[in-house]
């Protein structure tokens, strides 16, 4: 984990995203105009969030298979960064919506879905804080994390497809709930996918730093085992 090549890669990809993202020629579609550049910042947040939360789920499952406090720390740190990316995605989305849909919040199904998702994961943090016994906290929050993830997934994968939405991929519109892949301009694709990888790596980097802080803080506990 401490090898640094991927951190350099993250920095390079994000520098590329910020320069190319603001400089390349973008197709002007409808009322999107230049705001389409937000695609490089808003959409990768969701990719990053899903990837981080899935990683958190994997560590929770691993914890239940073999109780090891390190895994609990990993799961909670990945969930926290996932929440952070969710909040950033919500803010970038609200800014984007102000200029394209006319208002920051228009009760779009996906906005509601995200708000619920954040509530679910805030509850995860509250639950963690509510339990003082460390082993108990690890076990119970792992169970909740798994349960929440499997309710959260249909919420964002199935429900938005059933109702009309302002986002791409709603009822009667092509594409998945995230974005319409086929629509993506060839040059935009050259920035978009590196942006996704860059933001995800940055999220992982933040998480690893956080994990290391926790590992040092709980050093005595972990070594006593």
């Amino acid at each position: 984990m401490r090898k640094s090549w991927w951190k350099i890669l993250a920095a390079v990809l994000l520098i590329y995203t910020f320069t190319a993202g603001f400089l390349i020629k973008v197709p002007l579609i409808g009322n999107l105009k230049e705001t389409i550049r937000n695609l490089f910042f808003h959409v990768p947040m969701w990719f990053g969030q899903i990837i981080l939360l899935t990683t958190s789920l994997v560590y929770s499952i691993l914890y239940l298979r073999k109780p090891d406090l390190r895994r609990d720390i990993y799961a909670s740190c990945f969930a926290k960064t996932g929440i952070l990316m969710g909040i950033l995605g919500l803010i970038t989305g609200a800014i984007w919506a102000t200029y394209t849909w006319g208002e920051p919040w228009s009760n779009d199904p996906k906005q509601i879905g995200v708000a619920i998702a954040l509530l679910i994961y805030f509850a995860y943090l509250v639950l963690r804080n509510a339990i003082t016994d460390i082993d108990k906290r690890a076990k119970i929050s792992a169970v909740y994390n798994i349960f929440a993830y499997f309710i959260y997934l249909p919420l964002i994968m199935i429900l938005p497809r059933l109702v009309e939405s302002l986002h791409p991929g709603g009822k009667g519109v092509e594409g998945n709930p995230g974005l319409n892949g086929a629509d993506l301009d060839a040059t935009m694709r050259l920035v978009f996918w590196p942006a996704v990888i860059g933001w995800t790596l940055l999220g992982t980097w933040i998480t690893t730093l956080n994990i290391r802080i926790y590992l040092i803080r709980d050093k005595n506990l972990l070594n006593a085992k």
């Binding site: 998702a117 169970v143 309710i151």
Partner: protein, 218 residues
């Protein structure tokens, strides 16, 4: 396995019949909430009626299901641990909570009809939806009640954890209920929605059975 599920279920039901205070407590809770609604909003429109009905179901469920685990003392849990497995225990609790919630849902529906009139076009269809809804809500809250009981917290934690998690099902149910108010659905949409709810239910049951054994052992 089936034998011990029945034994546990029978014990819960017997307990309910003998300690009637908790059962009547929830009944009183339903009655007074709906009476307050009746006093504050007389004769609500269809949409409001529908929304209120499901929100009331949510609160009833939190109160009814929460006690199913909170009432079990530590010593008694230890006793169950020695005589049955975790899977049998959670399945018995799921069935018991479904039964309890079905009774409560139908009773509150009756009270809604009496106090807040009946704005439905198709009452029978709505009763069916209420049964599906009662089952879905009670399933989700059963595992959450187990988590909350393990965390040694009151019902507040259950509400914090449960309300965001129940929203998908609740939105689907409110959407589905509109068919009973005479709204015309796209062809196949009704079946799609019902299947989605049933699918979610099956997933919740599977998750409960898989995850509960981890909570069970201390």
């Amino acid at each position: 396995m089936i034998k011990s599920i029945f034994a546990l279920l029978k014990k819960d039901l017997l307990l309910e019949f003998r300690q009637q205070h908790s059962f009547y407590g929830i009944l009183l809770y339903i009655a007074s909430t709906i009476f307050v609604l009746y006093l504050s909003i007389n004769n609500p429109e269809g949409d409001v009626w529908n929304g209120l009905f499901w929100i009331i179901q949510l609160f009833v469920c939190v109160n009814a299901v929460a006690k199913s685990f909170l009432q079990e003392s530590k010593g008694r849990m230890l006793y169950f641990y020695t005589i049955s497995g975790a899977k049998e225990f959670i399945i018995a609790k799921l069935i018991y909570n479904i039964l309890l919630m079905l009774i409560m849902s139908l009773l509150s529906l009756g009270l809604f009809f009496i106090l807040l009139k009946n704005p439905l076009d198709n009452t029978l269809q709505f009763i069916g939806i209420v049964c599906i809804g009662g089952i879905s809500i009670s399933l989700v809250f059963t595992l959450l009640a187990a988590i909350a009981a393990k965390a040694q917290q009151n019902a507040a934690l259950m509400a914090i954890m449960g309300f965001p998690l129940i929203i998908p099902q609740l939105l689907l149910l409110i959407r589905l209920s509109k068919v009973a108010f005479g709204e015309i659905f796209r062809e196949g949409a009704l079946l799609q929605l019902s299947l989605l709810i049933v699918g979610l239910d099956i997933m919740v049951i599977a998750l409960s059975i898989i995850l509960f054994p981890f909570l069970w052992k201390d």
